[in-house]
Subunit: 113 residues, 2 copies
């Protein structure tokens, strides 16, 4: 039912194991076995988590010999940021300066379009 892109991305991020995998990939590419090492779950389970992340566009994968390396692709996070923009005016009640700046940037961008 959740066939739209944003739903797929959010659903992929709604699992702590998958978020941990992303955190690990932020330190550099890794193979499936390397990614599985910190977890107590089986390798097939990790493999499917990677599939979910890949379908969400959060990782890209390359194969070299029998190893499959995953690397982080944060573009979907930008989509989330875009979605959240419309709500930004609600959660900047206690604006620090950076938030204020970001908000104004938004306005400038809109004015420029």
């Amino acid at each position: 039912m959740a066939t739209d892109r944003l739903s797929v991305i959010f659903a992929a991020l709604a699992d702590p194991t998958r978020r941990a995998i992303l955190a690990r990939l932020a330190d550099g590419d890794a193979t499936v076995s390397e990614l599985a090492e910190p977890f107590e779950i089986s390798l097939p389970a990790i493999s499917r988590h990677l599939k979910v992340l890949e379908q969400a566009g959060l990782i890209t994968r390359s194969r070299s010999a029998q190893w499959r390396s995953s690397s982080l692709n944060p573009e979907p996070l930008r989509e989330i940021e875009g979605w959240m923009e419309r709500y930004r005016r609600f959660w900047d009640v206690n604006l620090d300066r950076l938030d204020a700046h970001l908000k104004r940037i938004q306005q400038n961008q809109q004015e420029n379009e």
Copy 2:
């Protein structure tokens, strides 16, 4: 399994109906019937969506007579923003543009003062 707060928030956002409800609430508080109106699904289904949103902290609810009004609570979005912060260096390719905007804004502020 997804008992941590961030997972609950992401899971709540992973449904297009729930995101549409949030979008509606961005225009102002609404009752359950009002929120259900644009959708073809039953009222109980909406009621449970609201429960999910409430448990994720994305809405708060108040009761007045037999009406239950929902209002947007965007604080969880801040948590998402915080989680995304560690990945910002990956996807903020346009940091230069951001800097440019920041400088321009600072100038504007100075001019306005």
